[in-house]
Point group: C2
Chain length 246, copies 2
């Protein structure tokens, strides 16, 4: 096993929890699982064992592999998998133009999953979503999502033209508080440093998130969190408790 390099066809999860998420959501992509000899105490291990048995996946106990791939962390399990591409569903999409930050990317995936968004479109160039740092920051949320890549926004738009587009821009024409979502839709965000350029004013209904003049702009993760919260409101506003048995 080698340390992951951008574009490798094989990547890996670091840690028991994301490895379980990988085994549940994408068992067909898993090549093998490597565990540390001290995993015996970990309450997630029986879950990993059951899943590996179910899907006929090999488990290797190999401390040096773990220490090599995760030198600084308390890591007990690594799930080695074949990278993949997914088909998008024709529901609501999140579109990110040139996202570049690995930590942000992971958090965004987790927030998407939290609000029930499962289709992510990435306009290249962009961060490598299969980098173990992204997987770790997503806490395994990545394996729940369909993620598709396009070279340009226009390519994506051509394929999915029959929907509403909401580009989020400082120059957006409508205040998010006044937007009523028309489904299916795509919520579009620029990258961490530039935002979307003016040509996006020509696609659908551009939106701004009002804030004080004391800051230049909200950061990408914050803007996206607010957008997903607002646009998915209808789905959640009737809920009376978060979980039945917290």
């Amino acid at each position: 096993m080698k340390l992951y390099k951008k574009g490798d066809e094989t990547s890996y999860t670091l840690g028991v929890f994301p490895t379980i998420e990988l085994l549940i959501q994408k068992p067909e992509m898993v090549k093998r699982v490597v565990v540390h000899s001290s995993i015996e105490q970990n309450k997630g291990y029986p879950v990993i064992q059951d899943l590996c048995e179910k899907y006929h996946i090999q488990i290797d106990v190999h401390d040096r592999t773990i220490e090599k791939l995760s030198p600084k962390n308390n890591c007990y399990a690594i799930g080695v998998f074949q990278t993949y591409t997914s088909l998008l569903h024709n529901g609501n999409h999140v579109v990110l133009e040139h996202p570049m930050d690995m930590g942000n990317m992971g958090t965004i995936m987790r927030t998407m999953l939290g609000f029930g968004y499962k289709d992510l479109v990435i306009i290249k160039p962009a961060v490598d979503i299969f980098d173990p740092k992204v997987i770790r920051a997503s806490m395994g949320a990545i394996f729940h999502l369909n993620i598709a890549f396009y070279d340009t926004f226009e390519d994506y738009h051509t394929q999915f033209s029959k929907r509403e587009f909401y580009p989020f821009m400082l120059k957006g024409a409508q205040n998010i508080h006044q937007v009523k979502a028309v489904k299916p839709y795509s919520l579009i965000f620029g990258n961490e440093s530039h935002g979307l350029d003016d040509r996006y004013l020509n696609y659908g209904q551009s939106v701004f998130i009002p804030h004080s003049e004391d800051i230049d702009s909200l950061n990408l993760s914050m803007a996206l969190t607010i957008a997903l919260f607002h646009f998915s409101k209808e789905q959640w506003e009737g809920k009376e408790v978060l979980k039945e048995n917290v």
Copy 2:
């Protein structure tokens, strides 16, 4: 100048932009400004010069100090200041119990400023807010805020009892979408790993943010962003453009 250590009475900004924010918001706390000899090209330098002249603050050109305090970064200016405590106003407060992550702390300050919240209450133990990493992550937002520390939530509650309290909890009694804010109020959040414990159910109106069962919980920054967006809605929903001249 020494590298900052937790609890030092003197701290510093790293970078031109936060140094300008410091000089505008808290000039009385500034001891001196240190700049790198290559700052001459930087368009923020005349602003720093004007502010230092106005407030009779000394500017030292000293490359080695800059390189010592900011070895990895392109940093052209450092604002050295006396740390301070602030008095809270009796408006709306954000209360954080035991926040521990420096990056989160900075982002939270920036989000607060973005939605017009200027009073931050921190229940100790907590991250050192004057650590240069927090200041950097806040992009200078820290200097706009009033920040007060308490040893226990009860101490804070005794002092500010005549207000509405909204603790954010997985077990919260009301869905955020159904909450209508009663002012003045305090929005209360637990820390990154534990959240608030059950005794907070006894304070005011506990709130949950509904999300899917595919994730355990939203992270602290996301939950706080959503809460501030929702609770400040009235102030922003009538805005027709984000900025007059973007």
